[in-house]
Amino acid sequence: MMKPERPVGIVGYGAYIPRFRIAAREIARIWDGAGGTPVDSKSVPGPDEDTITMSIEAARNALARARIAPDRLSAVWVGSESPPYSVKPSGTLVAEALGATPWVSAADWEFACKAGSEALTAAMGMVGSGMAQYVLAIGADTAQGRPGDALEYTAAAGAAALLVGPAAEAVAVIEGTTSYVTDTPDFFRRADTAYPVHGHRFTGEPAYFNTLRSAAERLLRDLGAKPSDFTYAVFHQPNTRFPQTVARQLGFTPQQIATGLLSPKIGNAYSAAALLGLCAILDVAKPGDTIFVATYGSGAGSDAYALRVTEALPERRGRAPLTAAYLARETFVDYAVYAKRRGKLVME
């Protein structure tokens, strides 16, 4: 287990989910999804949205909750597999929009669906060492799936921002983290290609399940804790079934994961997926509640965290829109609009 010498926690958090949705049955209508659908619907970014714009809104929500002046941030880090530019950091633009520039570290992180939690772990180190007081770790993605591919049902959009700071100021103290990584090629996108490829059933047991279980079990063991010690749990959610299954394998109950399980309605928000689930939990958790978080990124790795909610949370969460407010503004589009918006129409 990794844990900084100086206790750290989340002093502000912010979610963002675009208003557009496409129903999985609408995708199935086009691509003969006779085998059932992995989610009910997924979020779709608006035509003027991308990883940068979604990161900005999530980050503004985190800053609003923390009431931290943006120029007090020491780092703005964006984890994503869908940055608008191949070369040119998203972090600099997000930092400018927040008003955190110029005396700030800014960079982008990449690790498939756990790029955001990579930034979170690094933020713990930066604040925990005393080098920084506040670091913003963001996970954001506008994920792409090849038309007709199984991924198309789930590849979604969203952002979550976690403002890491001293434990004394936190709404939730981070009690420890583990990171488990192997070279496991379950899913990848080669440079200069539009869509990723995935290993079908290879993405399951040897990749998602083994990796996530390893990180989670190690954290539980090192903490001397058991699943029933936690009020809530949230796992990376590439679909509805995987997080349910891994929860069961680990010994968590459906009740523990219900609050943070957003994938049935918004699909897989990639780098934001588990972190958005955490935001949804923080929206309702009470002081003293405990939260278990495990992310997963193909390639492959998992970061697990244990959090304890403080007395500061109830007052702070009302200062920005709740995750539920974003979940509630659902505007469904059909496959044609979705294809146009997501650049799936051949224009030339």
């Binding site: 208003r19 608006g46 035509p47 003027d48 949205e49 991308d50 940068i52 714009t53 900005i56 809104e57 609003a64 608008p84 530019y85 633009l93 400018e96 929009a97 927040l98 008003g99 929206d283 969460r317 009302g318 200062r319 920005a320 829109p321 709740l322 407010a325 974003y326 503004r329 505007t331």
Partner: protein, 135 residues
Amino acid sequence: MDLAKHWRLRHARYRLEGQRNRLTGEVRFPPAPPRPGEAEDVWEPYVLSGRGRVYSFSVVRQPPEGFEDQPPYLVALVRLDEGPMVTAQLTDCDLEQAAIDMPVEMVTRRLRDLGPTGLIVYGYKFRPIVQSGNH
């Protein structure tokens, strides 16, 4: 390739940073150089709240070059709470939802994509308010 002309406006575009007069407290947007006779530093940077109301709105259906992929899109004059009026698009807003006096809030979105060899221009748009948890 247009770079500097967008770069130098980034604070105003990304975060609605205008100016406040140190003497009178007047807030203005967009920022501007001091007028003849004014002290160099009389206008200081000031980030506006981004809250306002729609003064009027319309829909663009015959777009100018560079906006061909966007129509129909809503454009509006928005009276900001601090007083200044701005021109911007309304986003996350259905055409039939827009109304005079509708409360709106600023979001930072993509304004224009200058193509594969150009910048993506980001800036302020306005949308119907997403209520905070307090409400």
